[in-house]
């Protein structure tokens, strides 16, 4: 074999290896999806979506779970969106390069890596106990807001950073203040990116069970919450609960609930991708 033939063979070998690596994750995901759908799809019907939980698997539904998940989504958005965006704007536009700013920056990056159960413990102490919110939707939403704040802050900063210096200069040169420049130019121009980040953060929050279990969200809630101070459950907790039962019927229920949860997550991700593409088309620097 000549050297060049050897090289071509190596090249080919790496391509095959690369394809294998790429597909390994996808295949696992596909097998998992296939398995879940096979198990759970036939269980999903109208009754499943609008029934309260029950000790009898055939009568149990996920009404309280998905309504709880929606509540959590909305409340978390209301809390985390303004906080995260404001913090991101401050760090990117206002904070002077100082030791303090550096310190903040490093710690926000660290926060993004803290395990979610730790946030649960934090939420338990601050919101549930100190603020006396109990295992309520509000306590859950506040806890999840803490969890996704670092993600929102980081993506907000990235989005803001992508607005060119020249746009800011143009605004300042016309006599605009910093705030006017941020509000009228920087935020509108980076809004698509910020929104994408928030939606991706929310889709992470939707899938969290651990921190909510810690703050005392219940698996069995026989009513749909009607105010932020009501007790609640969410889909991941319902799924966790069902999978820990020995009966096969509950496993089927769990699979069906997983499908619903996945649909919600994929929908959120889809919206994020759509917004990002639209933004990229609209503004080309």
């Amino acid at each position: 074999m000549t050297n060049s033939e050897k090289n071509r063979l190596k090249d080919k070998a790496f391509q095959v290896f690369g394809v294998f690596c790429t597909f390994i994750g996808l295949v696992v995901l596909a097998v998992f999806l296939f398995d879940i759908i096979l198990e759970g799809a036939r269980r999903i019907d109208w009754d499943f979506l609008v029934s309260l939980p029950s000790r009898r698997a055939a009568r149990a539904g996920i009404l309280t779970a998905w309504v709880g998940t929606l509540w959590i989504l909305v409340l978390t958005t209301i809390i985390a969106f303004p906080l995260g965006v404001a913090a991101g704007v401050y760090l990117e536009e206002y904070a002077r390069k100082s030791k303090m700013a550096n310190f903040l920056e490093i710690n926000i990056a660290n926060l993004a890596g803290v395990p979610s159960i730790i946030y649960g413990l934090l939420g338990l102490e601050i919101f549930v106990r100190q603020m006396n919110l109990g295992g309520s939707l509000l306590a859950g939403a506040l806890t999840l807001s803490l969890l996704i704040l670092p993600i929102i802050i980081v993506t907000t900063r990235e989005a803001i950073k992508s607005v060119p210096r020249s746009v800011r200069d143009g605004s300042y040169a016309l006599g605009a203040s910093k705030w006017q420049t941020v509000w009228n130019q920087v935020l509108p121009a980076s809004f698509g990116g910020i929104l994408t980040g928030i939606i991706l953060a929310l889709s992470r929050a939707v899938g969290e069970a651990a921190p909510l279990i810690v703050i005392g969200a219940l698996a069995y809630v026989p009513f749909t919450p009607s105010s932020p101070l009501d007790e609640f459950t969410v889909l991941p907790i319902q799924i966790f609960n069902w999978t820990s039962r020995p009966q096969a019927e509950f496993q089927t229920n769990a699979a069906a609930a997983i499908i619903v949860l996945l649909i919600i997550t994929f929908m959120l991700n889809g919206i994020a991708v759509y917004l990002r593409n639209r933004q990229q088309k609209k503004i080309k620097w």
Binding site: G170, Q180, P188
Partner: protein
């Protein structure tokens, strides 16, 4: 005709970026309704100097000045001067056209809107007037709600000029306004500068010697942070006093 008064002045101006001494003891006076060109090799301080007149350097960490910059005889670097008020008086056009990612109309009236002017009739009148002044009106009058980013580079730059004129400044600072444009667009901008000097005091930074010769009344040559020579443009290009000036304008370096 009465003698023109000095619109812009620098007196013993030093400027620093941290430890770097960017401008060294600059003294210059520019008459109103004149065009002054700043020329010099890259990094000579001419853009830095231009930006001291509307305090655009304020945002740069570690930038500071010593000495005075006067607008109509008043120091603009005192505490009493509000930067937003100063910039209403001293407009600026940048090297690369930088329209906002908004409609053409929104671009022109932005400066007015941030002053709190929101009457539609007032804004529309101002937009038309400024766009006409910037020789862009005929090209865009039917598309005022189109995105400014859809315009050509030359049109974008004239839009930026219109945007600066809309808030009625008396001084217009131009930082290599044509360096990113094709020759035809450049000619239009130069024509425009010639028109505008009837009403505005214009300072233009340029790398293009011919451009300086065509548009300016006076020329200032900067080298390594110093103002080497400042005189009537004609004088500068026919009989420069300093050998550095001579070397630069004859193309021996730069």
């Amino acid at each position: 005709m009465s003698r023109k008064h000095n619109k812009l002045e620098a007196i013993n101006l030093d400027a620093y970026y941290g430890d770097f001494h960017a401008l060294k003891g600059i003294n210059i006076a520019m008459e109103e309704k004149n065009v002054t060109a700043f020329i010099g090799p890259s990094g000579c301080g001419k853009s830095t100097f231009l930006r001291t007149f509307n305090r655009m350097n304020d945002y740069i960490d570690g930038f500071r000045t010593e000495g005075d910059i006067l607008l109509d005889g008043k120091d603009i670097y005192t505490k009493e001067v509000r930067v937003d008020e100063l910039r209403k008086e001293v407009g600026m056009v940048f090297q690369k056209p930088n329209p906002f990612p908004k409609t053409i109309f929104e671009n022109v009236v932005y400066g007015l809107k941030i002053q709190g002017i929101s009457k539609k009739a007032v804004l529309e009148e101002a937009a038309e007037k400024s766009l006409k002044r910037a020789a862009l009106w005929n090209e865009v009058k039917d598309n005022l709600n189109k995105s400014a980013l859809a315009l050509s580079g030359g049109q974008q730059q004239r839009l930026c000029i219109a945007r600066a004129l809309a808030i009625s400044p008396s001084v217009l600072l131009m930082d290599e306004p044509a360096s990113a444009l094709d020759p035809l667009s450049t000619a239009k901008i130069e024509e425009l500068i010639y028109e505008l000097k009837n009403d505005y005091t214009i300072v233009i930074v340029t790398h293009n010697m011919q451009q300086a010769g065509r548009v300016s009344d006076n020329t200032a040559f900067f080298y390594m942070g110093e103002l080497v020579e400042y005189s009537k443009t004609k004088t500068m290009f026919t009989s420069p006093q300093d050998t550095r000036t001579q070397n630069y304008i004859t193309g021996r370096f730069g």
